[in-house]
Amino acid sequence: MNMLLVALAILGIGGLAALLIHRNPKFANGIGSGSAVFGSLLGLMAAILLLFSSPPSETIRLPWSVPYGTFYIEADALSAFFLIPIFLLTGLAALYGARYLWEPKNEKRIGSHWAFYNTLAVSMVMVVIARNAILFLISWEVMALASFFLVTMEDERESVQRAGWIYLVSTHLGTMVLFFFFILIGNQASSLDFDRFVIAGSQIHPQASLFFVLALIGFGSKAGILPLHIWLPEAHPAAPSHVSALMSGVMIKTGIYGIIRALTWLGPPTTGWALTLIVIGSISGVMGVLLALAQHDLKRLLAYHSVENIGIIFLGLGIGLLGQANDLPVLILLGYGGALLHTLNHAIFKGLLFLGAGSVLHGTGTLDIEHTGGLMKRMPWTGALFLVGAVAICGLPPLNGFVSEFMIFAGAFQGIQYLNALSTIPGIIAIVALAMIGGLAVACFTKAFGIIFLGKPRSSHAAEAHESKPAMLIPMIVLAGLCVVIGLAAPYTLTLLKPALNTLSTNVAPTDFVKLTNQIQFPLTYVVVLSALFAVLVALLFWLRKWSLSGKSIATTVTWDCGYAKPTARMQYTASSFAQPLMKLASGVVRLREHLVKPEGFFPSEGSYSSKSPDVVHEGFWTPTLKASEWFLLRFRWIQMGSIHLYILYIAITLFVLLIWKLQ
């Protein structure tokens, strides 16, 4: 715990220092990013130690002058587990950002940038270890504000301003619901300390469902489930790439942490809660990936994929809840285990993908997929690393995405095996949704990777791209390495998950827990063995081909073009054409706005095609609702006319009424 506090101190002081010496950009950059990297390193070590420490948790509890508040922090296994991706990504993104931001136009604001960056890191850690509602909400708010300032770093662009505004409003709406939640649950517990919130006993508390819904909305808006996700595709593209990596990889996971923590307070769940989580997860997952398919801005695409992966995490949480509601320990372990592991995995590969997107932007100057192409030849490292991230996010063996999805699948299948008719419906929905998400994710990432890195360059930007500097590549290499390692060490991930799972499955007997975790290791071990055999087979085939081709001719020529004399790079498939069949089928859900100018006449003449895909939920639900509420509230504008006399009149009337009422 002390190491953790030291790490936080380093981050804090470094940020402050960067702000103070912001007139000297070189030092500000160095101190800001350096403190972030060193603080994260220390914090990561502290987190791992805390995860495996034998006394369950370390606590610091100090009184505070704020009413109802105590400075109560604790790092139990669940918090420690969430600290790992926080510190990992903070450090790596800082290393990346130091080189990425080093451009003339950023010199004036680099000091403040690092100040906010470190503040964001500190606040995220505080959110995860706070055990008092006031402390939690303060950290939550600081996290929101710090990320807002980071997102609007390039605020000379109008799209960035708009994105920042949408983000600010959304996060505050969510925080408002959280306030309600904490007030209600604190009322019921007569204290605002988390350890008093636990609803004891095996009876379902009458208000538990209300708490559940409030927690779902409040934390879910930060996590980014449909329909509360609309800030994600605006904020993540607007932020600088390493900040997007941090936000998408880690900040939205604090929402997941909040939901899990709230679930530990709410007592025994019902199958209805599990069904709710699974339905929300399915809709977020499928809609997220369908909307991602329609995008041709790389960062918007990745942002929608975050929505999809949060959906997958919710599916895992739903399976875990199903196990708790129906007293099936294996479901609890597989469901929660898969969800937690996917949280970590997603932080790793989403961070990798966003850093890769940053490299693409840095190298070509554009994020529009339709203007890239053939980048693999000019940016081989970025290409290969992006490929690792793409394969991982599709959940394909032998990388880490497969392990967490396997656990969720296995949990759902066990659910349909052992439960009776109506309770299998959540499991069935989860399996079908997860399978569909997998197939669509492959469609989306083959599109993204293939169009950006392969084929021929579609524009001069792409033809003159340059590779990123080593400082930007090293964090990506580390993350890609982690994808491979976690994938190949699948059974050992359970040792990482066990402490956290222990805190979540308090009603499972310890002997059962040990027995079941050992049982889960068997399939995972086989998965690893078969993945290894797969790799061996690839190598064998490689040597077979090499041996077979020795002495024979290996020629190169142009791509087969059906005899057409002059194929150009513009004749390749574009991202829109690749996704078109799926978009046509899903046109009810993805409202694609297309602008088509057909060539006229008998000989080919001018033609053009462009498409925009505004967010369906944003345009169909939020904009009309908010416009309606705006219209309604404008009716009351007359109350605040700006006249001081009127305001004094209001005060006088209130005073008058209060006096009469109290003194009668």
């Binding site: 693999m376 290409g383 490929l387 394969v391 959940g395 063996p397 396997f406 296995a410 299948f413 066990q414 349909i416 095996q417 008719a421 069935i428 399996i431 079908v432 399978a435 569909m436 997998g438 197939g439 492959v442 083959t446 599109k447 293939g450 169009i451 392969l454 084929g455 021929k456 068997f522 399939p523 086989y526 998965v527 063995v529 078969l530 797969f534 087979l537 085939l541 077979l544 081909r545 077979s548 081709l549 024979k552 001719s553 290996i554 020629a555 190169t556 020529t557 142009v558 791509t559 087969w560 059906c562 194929p567 390749q572 498939y573 054409s577 690749f578 078109q580 069949p581 799926l582 089928l585």
Partner: protein, 304 residues
């Protein structure tokens, strides 16, 4: 669980898989009144291709060169998990069918990006359609697995097939027939058979799988061809496992019944290919949604 004695069956599968393709071609030839290719023609083709040199396109990168290896290795690894009817597979564990379909998935991923690597619009077209159809077939396959798991109360392929007994056929025959129909339709889709795709032509009007591999030659193309035959074997084995209800404990008898069933399935595919024409491409999603509807019916049947 590792069953050492089944390793030999793994190698037998690797050896025998191309015969299914030949059987299909022979059936189609007989329907057309021709004599058709020799039964071992696919082997001759593979040997011929391995003896050639190869030509690569200048636009392609190392992805293009590695994709055939990955897709072939993927399918070969899945064969380690597929039982021979009632004879257990070399590797069996809870949830092995998930790994089977995802190994096919990684092969598909690399085939698709290799197609985009060539920078040709033909291959882009094939790639686009391939991901469209796989986005449908994945959930449908998992839906049939849900049905089978609930019917047999087992969670690994070997045990699933063991659970298909004559008793199960009499009680839930309707659901099993529908599952078999769905898997047959998926077999036709995944292996680019009529009515989804025409395996004989390489024109853009009929192509999905065939066009993605347009630029491969020599040993690469041999790997792709062999991988296609292995995939056909895999899906036929899934279908055979569900259809065959008889379980003796004699390896020879079980193995022969399985092989007979596989040949029957190949003949059935040949018959379907001869009797039907290729569907218009926009109708294929409709057919797949129809298969999905049948899968939903199966699930509802098992829910009672």
């Amino acid at each position: 669980m590792i069953n050492d004695s089944s390793i030999i069956l793994f190698f037998l599968s690797l050896l025998c898989a191309p015969i299914l393709l030949s059987v299909i071609n022979r059936t189609k030839a007989i329907f057309a009144g021709r004599t058709g290719q020799p039964i071992l023609q696919v082997y001759f083709d593979l040997i011929k291709l391995m003896r050639k040199g190869t030509v690569y396109s200048q636009t392609t990168t190392w992805i293009f060169r590695i994709a055939p290896l990955i897709s072939l290795a993927g399918v070969m690894t899945t064969l380690l998990l597929i039982p021979w009817g009632k004879i257990p597979a070399p590797f069996t564990f809870t949830g092995d069918f998930i790994l089977v379909f995802y190994l096919l998935g990684i092969g598909r991923f690399f085939t698709v990006i290799a197609a985009l690597d060539t920078g040709s619009s033909f291959e882009g077209m094939g790639a686009s359609r391939e991901v469209l159809f796989s986005a449908f077939t994945e959930p449908i396959l998992f839906a049939t697995l849900i049905t089978l798991v609930r019917l047999t109360d087992e969670a690994s392929l070997t045990n699933l097939f063991h659970g298909i007994t004559p008793f199960l056929w009499t009680t839930s025959g309707a659901a099993l027939i529908l599952v078999a129909v769905i898997i047959f339709v998926i077999l036709l889709t995944e292996n680019s058979r009529i009515p989804v795709d025409d395996p004989n032509t390489h024109l853009e009007l009929t192509m999905i799988h065939e066009v993605m591999v347009l630029d491969y030659s020599g040993p690469d193309f041999a790997f792709i061809l062999y991988g296609a035959s292995l995939k056909l074997w895999l899906f036929s084995a899934l279908l055979a496992g569900i259809i065959v209800p008889i379980h003796t404990d004699n390896v020879l008898v079980d193995g022969s019944i399985f092989l007979l069933c596989m040949l029957a399935i190949a003949v059935a595919v040949g018959v379907v290919e001869s009797l039907m024409a290729r569907l218009r491409l926009v109708l294929v999603p409709r057919m797949l949604v129809g298969a999905g509807a049948i899968a939903a019916v199966c699930i509802y049947l098992t829910l009672k």
